[in-house]
Symmetry: C2
Subunit: 381 residues, 2 copies
């Protein structure tokens, strides 16, 4: 029986892969001898090659942003926004979604083989930064024959990549959509990341990152990291609405078993995550978050940094997002105005916390639709 | 050389201990054959025995609330508030500060000997609740010959005990001071506690709670729990002011060593805590927090619960406290008004987050001073 897809879905999709054999110098000072990038595309590139948009993923994301794999019931992570008639309309745009290096979803990363040793990179994989990702995405862009993105788009860590693109390759970005992001992490955010890292690093099954060769995974540490992450992606209100103080068995046990629904949810999310995510990658991703600070290249002046950009900006935040609160987005907006850039800003009323950027919230979809409609007109898509 | 103390200090103090040999039935359904309570007192009990106030401690607190031990440079945890001329003025009040059962600071708990087995209680120590603590504090009260507290006072988990006192022993509480507390934890708070518990429970050195006999401690788990706790006790603003994005060595290392000051602080706090706190106690304390819900005994109606009380209330919250936000205090105030109780409320402008309740903030001290002045007048102290 053939699979049936919703009419606004891009349907069955397949990842592609490109290999790059030129060594790349990373911000850390280290070099990768070469790398592979896995990516997906949705919608056709037009004759003028003017309708390409780049989607950048967040901490645990990947290249599978929309559509379905064969035998998969769940679509890609941003299927709410990508498809025919959706904000990133595949009838008009050629959407490129790329998995970043350091990830564990197919592009070169800790769980791939280091050609120089024949073993997994593991903990020897170098620390990568948002700027490195933008660099590799640019290389992919060139190999795809795309000269300018109509838009670079991302939420959370993905929004940081959109910002970095606008600064590093100003003439190659028409619009930057910076969603639920910040121009740099607060001490609190770094603190949460550090607890997650320590959970992984201190797990005896981590083996200094060489757990593959010990035929094990640092299950406990990665699970704790993910549980903590989940709490910070959700709002207090969303958790109250979702779980309240509901008891799983209707009564207290007076022991350390699962009692409240929220405990059950977190343990489930944590243990499911462990099965499909790499602990070394989790460490790398949190470092990329902590390090992101584009102002640091411009004498710690974000205005000067953003003056490099010629893109137009859409900045979006969500009222209940306390990990990257609206205040952080407003800082970006204020700085863009000071830098004399063109910026639109939408603060979306949402109870879903940081994760709201993944959800089909009506006002949010309207904002993206209107904005991308203008972008499409500009590029003749 | 004799120790010199500030003139507003209670000076050198010594803990006392009382043993209770009657078995106590706990809310969990289990029984303790007897127990010991360690406590301190500051200031004299007056002839009328009307000037006693009870101070209740929070998660990691103990009976040492004020003054100094010999050779100790740091005073008790609430020294800002307790002493001659301070809000809980030891020239007027007889302050009693008791260590709760289940703690690891001298009262009967997991790190004391179970008389029935001759071994440490360890994980066999029963789960205790706020109501159980109030019960044992009441037993101590009787043995001290005190018939009514002029006030029962506490911050955070201590504020929950003050609320419970007002409900369970209405005629024995003149005033309840409920500071930086909530009538029950939110799902988010339970979530954070659950991550802390899982960190401890999943540490291989935990040995199901029998780590004493393995001559080890679950250092990693307890450290993670404390690091996470610290982030939630501080506000985002306080962390920004304290650490910003300062680098410990002035430059990035591109590895997983300590880089940002906030990482250094959290690791230090975590590893220092491990040396003087018991992991089984940490588990018990977080459960007492999660379980606290006085409305549950009154058909989930907090108004009915608080109608039991005859005490007058002072409720205090701190603007930057997101663990027990002002909204949670206002819920208590609203409910007290609905229950036709007398309540005063102060929201203190403070950047210090949840920990602000321990700090000598001017307006906070003024509020406590004025309130306790009235209490002193009422009881002729």
């Amino acid at each position: 029986m053939p699979m049936q897809f919703p009419t606004d879905s891009v349907g069955l999709v397949q990842p592609q892969k490109k290999s790059f054999h030129e060594p790349i110098s990373l911000i850390s000072g280290r070099t990768l001898p070469g790398y592979e990038l896995v990516y997906e595309t949705y919608g056709e590139l037009n004759q003028a090659r003017s309708n390409a948009i780049l989607v950048c993923h967040a901490l645990s994301g990947d290249h599978h942003a929309a559509g379905f794999y064969a035998n998969d019931k769940k679509p890609g992570w941003w299927d709410a926004c990508i498809g025919p008639g959706k904000p990133f309309d595949t009838n008009r745009f050629h959407v490129v979604s790329v998995n970043n290096i350091g990830s564990c979803k197919g592009s070169t990363g800790p769980n791939t083989i280091n050609p120089e040793t024949g073993n997994y990179y593991g903990p020897d994989f170098p620390i990568v930064t948002v700027k490195d990702w933008v660099h590799t995405q640019h290389t992919l862009m060139q190999s795809l024959g795309i000269e300018k993105w109509a838009a670079v788009i991302g939420g959370s860590l993905g929004g940081m990549q959109a910002m970095q693109w606008s600064i590093d390759y100003p003439d190659k970005v028409g619009h930057a959509l910076v969603i639920a992001a910040a121009s740099r992490l607060s001490a609190q955010n770094i603190g949460f990341n550090e607890v997650a890292r320590q959970a992984i690093l201190s797990d005896p099954e981590f083996h200094g990152g060489h757990f593959y060769s010990h035929n094990t995974i640092p299950r406990r540490g990665l699970m704790l990291a993910r549980m903590l992450g989940h709490i910070t992606y959700l709002s207090d209100d969303a958790m109250r609405a979702k779980f309240g103080r509901e008891l799983r068995e209707g009564h207290l046990n007076y022991d350390f078993s699962v009692e409240f629904q929220v405990e059950s949810y977190l343990r489930y999310q944590g243990s499911a995550f462990v099965e499909h995510f790499d602990a070394n990658t989790y460490l790398l991703m949190t470092k990329a978050l902590d390090y992101f600070d584009p102002a640091s290249e411009y004498e710690n002046d974000l205005v000067t940094a953003l003056k490099q950009a010629t893109a137009k900006f859409l900045v979006v935040s969500f009222t209940s997002d306390w990990r990257f609160a609206p205040e952080r987005s407003k800082e970006i907006v204020k700085t863009l105005i000071e830098a004399r850039r063109q910026v639109s800003y939408a603060e979306v009323e949402a109870s879903g916390g940081h994760d709201a950027f993944l959800m089909p919230i009506t006002y949010y979809m309207q904002v993206l639709n209107s904005y991308m409609d203008k972008v499409a007109e500009e590029v003749g898509a």
